[in-house]
């Protein structure tokens, strides 16, 4: 069954099945491969994404109370509340395309169920997690839940390559001050010198000035000379 959303190879129903995680293996593989080459389908999926404030699920590092309070104040000022009406618009669009079952899923109150990209990042095989991070990099407007999953992957994924792909996906994204601080805190979780240096490059690219104290500490104390050199370069670039 095809629907006129601009792509004749992949219908909206298939996209939404893939997105919901209910696709069988054959559909999952077909749609997953198609999304890598079809900007139209990626844009269609992005229209159904709904922002949600799932940032509370990201484990915060231990902070002193004063610093935590300052961070919360900055995050509150930077992140306006999201309206609930996009849920209704998304449901009406799906009904218009005749996807009755999927529309029912969208109309159900949100219960925090991860979307396919987020689910793959958190629970997939190494290759599924890499594919999810690579796909995230081309998302035009990744929802906060996806950004949170990418930051989590950067901090704790067992695969160096998945972490590097998560870095790629975060590159160029506008980050809230809270996300910037999480990016700085992620440095302590990197044992591979490539990751430490790539993360330092990202601080410069994203102008994460919260990283300056960390970079001074790295310059003084990192065991790897090449990482110290990278920190020196970054301090000059951020000054």
């Amino acid at each position: 069954m095809t629907h006129d959303h601009g792509c004749t190879e992949c219908g909206v129903a298939d996209l939404l099945m893939w997105r919901s995680g209910d696709a069988d293996a054959s559909l999952r593989d077909r749609v997953g491969a198609h999304l890598e080459v079809c900007a139209v389908c990626r844009a269609t999926l992005a229209e159904f994404d709904v922002g949600c404030d799932s940032y509370a699920t990201v484990p915060l590092p231990a902070l002193d109370p004063e610093r935590y309070a300052r961070m919360l104040r900055r995050a509150t000022l930077a992140s306006p509340a999201r309206p609930a009406w996009p849920w209704r618009i998304a449901a009406l669009l799906v009904l218009a395309f005749g996807g009755g079952v999927v529309a029912t899923m969208l109309l159900l109150p949100g219960d925090g169920t991860p979307r396919p990209l987020v689910a793959s990042l958190r629970q997939g095989t190494p290759h599924e997690r890499l594919r999810a991070a690579v796909t995230s990099a081309v998302e035009a407007a990744p929802p906060q839940e996806l950004l949170a999953a990418l930051l989590d992957a950067l901090r704790s994924d067992p695969s160096t390559n998945v972490r590097l792909a998560a870095l790629d996906a975060l590159r160029g994204r506008p980050l809230t001050p809270r996300q910037g601080q999480l990016l700085v805190d992620a440095f302590a979780d990197q044992t591979h010198p490539l990751l430490r240096k790539s993360l330092i490059e990202l601080y410069v690219a994203q102008e994460v000035r919260e990283a300056v104290p960390l970079l001074r500490a790295v310059l003084d104390g990192d065991s790897d000379a090449s990482v110290r050199n990278r920190a020196r370069w970054a301090l000059e670039a951020l000054s």
Binding site: P126, L130, L164, D168, H192, L194, A205, N229
Partner: protein
């Protein structure tokens, strides 16, 4: 009398040792894989290990674990090592796990596996990880040693440090992104002639060499990089899934093989 007793004790120890002196082979053991879903997955996470995996025409997994005995070690030490189980494989359906991340005894792990298999291999401070003649999804993490894969069909994620990544694909999984990362080591991978990929290469002054014609994309559009670092994007054969390669202080080679 003391000398006779010592000699007798030595004979007993040597007689019961399973030939593990100075890295000689220990007994191999077979493990049947359960479940019905194939390919199965074999996950090995053992520190201080040299790991060699070879695909073969079999349905089970043959595992041989050899402790690496330091030169000059006494027969007593060698016998103790031979009699110790350093790893405890667990089979759960179609998943086999060999999990010993806190191991401190240098080991050589040799596995013969079904040809169609997914592998998740992880070691550190041991030796090279080598994979041959398998078809599946490879995920390999090493450190302070290299990684080699030969005559592999499928896809791979490979990362190490202070070691090279050298490999050969005879065919690729359609649409599967791949990534290779190391520091202080070359990345030298041979691909089948029908490779289609979107390239993302990060290297430094050593640059990269490709047997494939590459259509260059936008080159790091204004993003600041340290002097000497280069981030290169391009397309091979019109483009395809992401092929990411990152190293430093060493070159990157994309070689074209004969295919399958």
């Amino acid at each position: 009398m003391n000398g006779l007793r010592m000699a007798a004790l030595a004979l007993v120890i040597l007689g019961t040792a399973r030939g593990a002196t100075n890295g000689q082979e220990s007994a191999a053991r077979s493990y049947a894989l359960g479940g019905v879903e194939r390919p199965a997955t074999i996950a090995v996470r053992v520190a201080y290990a040299t790991i060699e995996v070879t695909g073969a025409d079999r349905d089970d997994v043959l595992l041989q674990v050899t402790p690496i005995v330091p030169e000059g070690a006494s027969p007593t030490d060698a016998a103790i090592l031979a009699g110790t189980s350093f790893v405890s494989p667990v089979v759960d359906g179609n998943l086999m796990r060999i999990d010993s991340p806190d191991n401190t005894q240098p080991l050589r792990l040799e596995l013969q596996v079904p040809r169609a298999v997914n592998l998740e291999l992880q070691s550190s401070n041991g030796g090279r990880i080598t994979v041959r003649d398998v078809e599946g999804a490879l995920s390999i993490e090493n450190s302070n040693a290299g990684v080699t894969f030969e005559r592999v069909a499928g896809s791979a994620l490979v990362a190490t440090s202070n070691g090279s990544i050298v490999g050969e694909f005879v065919s690729l999984t359609p649409g599967a992104p791949m990534s290779f990362a190391t520091s202080n080591g070359a990345i030298d991978v041979t691909f089948p002639p029908d490779l289609r990929a979107d390239l993302l290469l990060e290297t430094d002054n050593d640059g990269f060499t490709s047997d494939f014609p590459v259509d260059a994309g936008e080159q790091g559009a204004g993003e600041p990089l340290p002097r000497g670092r280069r981030r290169f994007t391009g397309r091979v054969n019109g483009g395809g899934p992401l092929l990411r390669m990152q190293t430093e202080n060493a070159p990157i080679f994309l070689r074209r093989g004969g295919g399958h």
